[in-house]
């Protein structure tokens, strides 16, 4: 029993180690710039071990994005959980951009980076990216609906969409310019809208 757990633990650990190292490298260097050899070297695994856990590099990429979705949403929820109002939560999402950007490893959104990097990738990867962004858009829309309960659903969805698009634009331009003004401009506009 205990030994059996050790076995599966070792296996699970190896797979997890590979995934963890790959996640860091994919994010920091990009998917195409990161080779399987580098991943296994830094994870201390052999080539064969890699391919017992992942049938291809692309499947590892998909596992990375899938895990990243959970991780990133956790960060976001941590950042806005303590905000009592919907308005505070919406502004908190933009504030979160600021703290995230200050991270020395900030390299923008993993999903957008992958989207831009892989024009004709596996449909499963495209779906993972679209799903991540769709959920974020719907978060904005539901928060707007909370903040403006008297508004029509169409109006809430419209404003939520705009906030989402503004967030995405801010995200990408923070990555581009590495300066705080996109966030300042977006924050000010959002405050005036709500």
């Amino acid at each position: 029993m205990v030994i059996g757990m050790n076995t599966s633990t070792r296996s699970a650990t190896k797979r997890a180690e590979i995934l963890q190292v790959a996640s860091r490298l994919f994010y920091e260097q990009g998917y195409h710039q990161t080779g399987v050899q580098q991943i296994i070297a830094e994870a201390g695994a052999a080539k064969g071990t890699f391919y017992t856990h992942f049938k291809s590099k692309e499947e590892l990429g998909l596992a990375w994005l899938s895990a990243r979705h959970t991780t990133w949403n956790g960060w976001l929820q941590d950042a806005i959980r303590d905000q009592p109002t919907a308005r505070g939560k919406i502004l908190g999402i933009f504030e979160f951009l600021g703290t995230w950007m200050e991270d020395c490893h900030y390299r923008g959104c993993a999903f957008l980076n992958t989207l831009c990097e892989m024009p004709d990738c596996d449909p499963a990867i495209r779906a993972e990216i679209a799903n991540h962004k769709r959920e974020l858009k719907e978060l904005f829309q539901s928060l707007v609906a909370q903040h403006q309960p008297e508004a029509s659903q169409a109006d809430s969805q419209q404003l939520g969409t705009v906030l989402f698009l503004l967030f995405e634009g801010t995200l990408i331009e923070l990555q581009n310019f590495r300066e705080p003004w996109p966030l300042d401009g977006a924050r000010q506009h959002v405050e005036s809208l709500l």
Copy 2:
């Protein structure tokens, strides 16, 4: 004289052919997904010819973005030139997104794609990308200033920044979802702002 011109013409043509083919492939497949071998094969050139005209693949990438800046700005100017008012021009920029997206080869913004693809690239490439976006932001800001001559410069710059960020978010989400709703949402918001 004439023969001399033929010589330089032939050279210029070869270089131009390589650059033209590379521009298409870089945009459609991405920079890293496109190899020098494929470029020269489709351009009908030899490896050595490539390296007489470009000292490296990266220099070709820079030449691509530099030319793309001119080309894309030309498209944009063509799209908004006939608009008599600043408001019309601003809305025209967003309309331009729609016609651009309908292009069967639409793959988003070459500059953002390259930014996302190359986290630690040549500073000259980063500068080319930042410059392209800076000019677009300033176009929005100057159009806002024309549209609201009574507003303070700070207010014009603020609104121009927001329009720019909204444009960028729309751009990237059109690429992501390949659906018209991001553009519809952005257009509606811009109309209500102006």
